[in-house]
Symmetry: C2
């Protein structure tokens, strides 16, 4: 059986080579929240899975050719920003004034450089502007018109707000506003369930590890449907929605942003690894449990420099996917889907 | 010597009573940076010391009558916001458009509730609005016009931007802009020394511990002179400029905001206590060392639930003061002033 021996040898060599190569890859999310099979058509579900796979592959292609994790994060997030399916870029939710208002942030695990934008209305890919705030300005965070002025200085083409607007998100706004008028004026500290538990999901994010061993994380969102008063959630807050440090991990969060800011979710996961030596998955689980104890929900994706990753969420579902060089790929939506 | 005995007895009783009462008190800062004796007149120095003492006493009075640490934080910060000496409220620095643009945040150590505003132009006491975002909205952070719309809904009296503007800050803007024109256009990632090391200081903050054992922290600022593009620093970022948790500590930061966001300064100090059991002072020193290694400067005030506090800064000076029920009070400016 020399043929079998050869095959065995080749397979062993191939697996050995794969093990010897530095693990690299990325993990993405397209938001966490109430995602029930009962409200999803097979066509829509297939669309989500296809778009998640496309984003995953766009990022992976960057890493496979030796590109930087920062570039992979941007490439993967751009696919989701450009898709009307997710609450980021095109297809973002509407705020109370009936327009789309976008936030994003990015962080470089090698240098802890970071960039963020909040409340922009005309930037096609907010994650790119966050990256340019990091790379081309002395600042970390820019908000509103100022951020767009900075973009114009870099020759960004500004898009009309209509570019982001989709009918189904407009419908969500109408429903939210009707519900609000219907005696449920959101003056209490706790917003109603409809508002908070079904309309938030869709924030997108990515964490990546490149062949040089560098981690990066990014998050992009349209925030909450019917949001008022220039509300900013956790997505553009470094340490809350986004964090990356080669020494610990890269994290992107999605969920009820107010709770994620208060807990400082992304940094809290890294801090447990840094100061207590906790493993990635245990740290992420402990932090999401902390969010849950305060009354919040949502989830994170997290990846460490050894290529370990985790999806952790306390919501019924999370659009999520991972492709690592040393592990089988996965694309999942519902909470009960096996991802290992 | 019965008289001496009586005195001794009284003194012992008094000291015993003081030790038995739960420690309470507050620590404040009025900004860190280059504060040289050579550039300070005795009159100006006396003014600073008087205003710091006034802020300290305003907060202490709240605590002494059994008031909440959140209220003490607000009271102390209001005094500094209302004084033209500090870069917060009246006397804030000018942005590149020649107006004052204010940020603030506050956090409740008992509940981890938090509130923040950024980029407001007409709110006399931004820390009060941050508190109301925390207490009277479902959100944590509001920016720009939206935040002011929220304030109008709460019947805040909006002040004209001229209220905040002072001649010496206008002079600083002119100098910064002249320097910028003078071939030092700040397009590089690292701003020039003049801009970053001498014009930033003045952010104000307070951490307080009340008789019920609850910690709170707050920070208020005008940001950086000549800031552009809707730049937001660390002051309104929960976990960076402000953090409070009864289980660990309350922190308010001041310094080169970009570095403080990247390190997540306030939360990093608390995280060392939470996950490694580090003592307050050691944790604060380690975090400021981290900021220094990245190239940033500034400082923090931090206070734990046992009434231990620390001033930690790597800048030449920091306007600072503390008054605790179980320790002597202190008001200091220069780095070489003993504060213990």
């Amino acid at each position: 059986m020399p043929r079998l021996l050869v095959l065995l040898l080749l397979s062993t060599l191939a697996s050995h080579a794969r093990d010897l190569g530095r693990p690299h890859g990325l993990v993405i999310h397209g938001g966490a929240g109430v995602i029930a099979r009962s409200t999803m058509t097979p066509e829509r579900e297939a669309e989500y899975r296809a778009r998640l796979a496309e984003a995953l592959n766009a990022g992976y292609a960057v890493l496979e050719r030796g590109g930087a994790s920062l570039e992979a994060v941007t490439a993967a997030i751009n696919v989701m920003e450009d898709s009307p399916l997710f609450n980021a870029g095109k297809g973002a939710v509407f705020n109370a004034d009936g327009i789309c208002e976008l936030d994003a942030s990015i962080m470089d695990g090698r240098t802890q450089a970071a960039g963020a934008v909040a409340g922009v209305h005309h930037i096609k890919n907010p994650i790119n502007l966050a990256r340019d705030v990091m790379l081309k300005s002395p600042h970390v965070m820019m908000v509103g018109d100022g951020a767009e002025k900075f973009a114009r200085g870099l020759s960004y083409e500004l898009v009309p707000n209509e570019y982001f607007q989709t009918d189904w998100r407009r419908e969500q706004l109408k429903k939210a506003q009707a519900k609000e008028k219907d005696g449920k004026e959101r003056t209490a500290a706790i917003p109603d369930d409809y508002f908070t538990r079904t309309l938030r999901w869709g924030t997108v994010g990515c964490v990546a590890l490149d062949q040089a061993g560098n981690l990066a994380a990014g998050t992009s969102t349209g925030g909450m449907t019917n949001k008022k008063f220039g509300r900013v959630g956790d997505a553009p807050i470094i340490g809350a929605g986004t964090y990356a440090n080669n020494a610990t991990c890269a994290v992107s969060a999605t969920g009820w942003g107010e709770f994620f800011i208060r807990v400082g979710v992304a940094r809290d996961i890294a801090a447990q690894m840094e100061y207590k030596g906790t493993a990635l998955r245990d740290a992420a689980a402990a932090t999401i449990a902390k969010v849950g104890r305060l009354g919040g929900d949502g989830g994170v994706i997290a990846l460490d420099a050894a290529g370990n990753y985790t999806f952790e969420f306390n919501s019924p579902g999370m659009y999520r996917a991972a492709r690592l060089s040393n592990q089988p790929s996965v694309v999942a939506i519902y909470g009960d889907e096996a991802t290992r």
